[in-house]
């Protein structure tokens, strides 16, 4: 089956961020396809490379990057939600006159249309969050 994943909650605060990852990994392990993982609301915070959890804790951002590399996942952070919360790639930072970017490797910033398309193209869109 072809899945799209919507992550609506930030890392560490809400288990939804972990469950989304576990679900995505399990689906891939079972041979399913992941069309796209879309990060919205506080979910965009799953895509900052500045995350530095304690060493004995999981690194939620790095985990996505690694899974993304392994399976060529399309990890998309919503641009409108990202701007509000200070998540930027080099282009966004430049466009908005910021002195730095912080997007994690393997993630890209794009519009909400990518979420709608994810719903259209996948057999199932699965939402993680409240």
């Amino acid at each position: 089956m072809k899945f799209s994943i919507l992550v609506n909650e930030g890392p560490y605060t809400h288990e939804a961020a972990d469950t989304a990852y576990q679900f995505t990994k399990a689906a891939l392990d079972k041979g399913h396809e992941i069309f796209r993982v879309f990060f919205y609301h506080d979910g965009v915070n799953n895509g900052t490379r500045l995350t530095t959890p304690p060493q004995d804790d999981r690194n939620i951002v790095k985990r996505w990057t690694e899974l993304g590399e392994k399976h060529k996942l399309d990890l998309v952070v919503c641009v409108a939600a990202a701007q509000r919360r200070g998540i930027a790639d080099a282009d966004e930072a430049k466009r908005n006159g910021k002195d730095a970017d912080n997007i994690a490797p393997g993630f890209r910033i794009s519009g909400l249309g990518q979420l709608i398309e994810a719903g259209i193209q996948a057999d199932r869109l699965v939402t993680f969050g409240d």
Binding site: L6, L112, L115, I116, G119, I120, L125, T127
Partner: protein, 126 residues
């Protein structure tokens, strides 16, 4: 789901369960609806639980220091988003009726709402 000229048309249902203020979900849900309208899908919106307050008339956010985005619901018609369903039980327990809503809505009982959800292709719950 149906195939129309120009691509796939799916039934998209946006489920709004949260109060308009206090969290950003309602506002960012509306942003998805507005962007999504350009994709010419079969769109409807459901308002359940505290989500019914999103459509309540007379919202005044001055003291909160945040934008009152409720007028935007009135613009949905211009985007051809006209199927707005409000759950009957959620309205009743909050002492509200269709007359208290900023836009024309269809009142739907919980059972009917469940059946309606069953018939959807994509459900985005905020």
């Amino acid at each position: 789901m149906s195939e129309m000229e120009g691509g796939i048309v799916k039934k998209f249902l946006y489920v709004n369960r949260k109060a308009p203020y206090g969290t950003v979900y309602a506002q960012e849900s509306l942003e998805v609806v507005l962007i999504g309208a350009a994709f010419e899908q079969d769109v409807s919106l459901a308002f359940i639980d505290d989500g019914v307050y999103q459509l309540a008339k007379g919202q005044d956010t001055k003291a909160l220091g945040v934008k009152n985005f409720s007028p935007t619901y009135r613009a949905l018609e211009d985007y051809d988003v006209t199927k707005l369903f409000v759950e009957k039980e959620s309205l009743e327990v909050r002492g509200l009726s269709a007359d208290d809503m900023v836009v024309p809505v269809t009142i739907m009982g919980a059972q009917e709402m469940a059946e309606y959800m069953n018939g959807q292709d994509v459900i985005l719950s905020f």
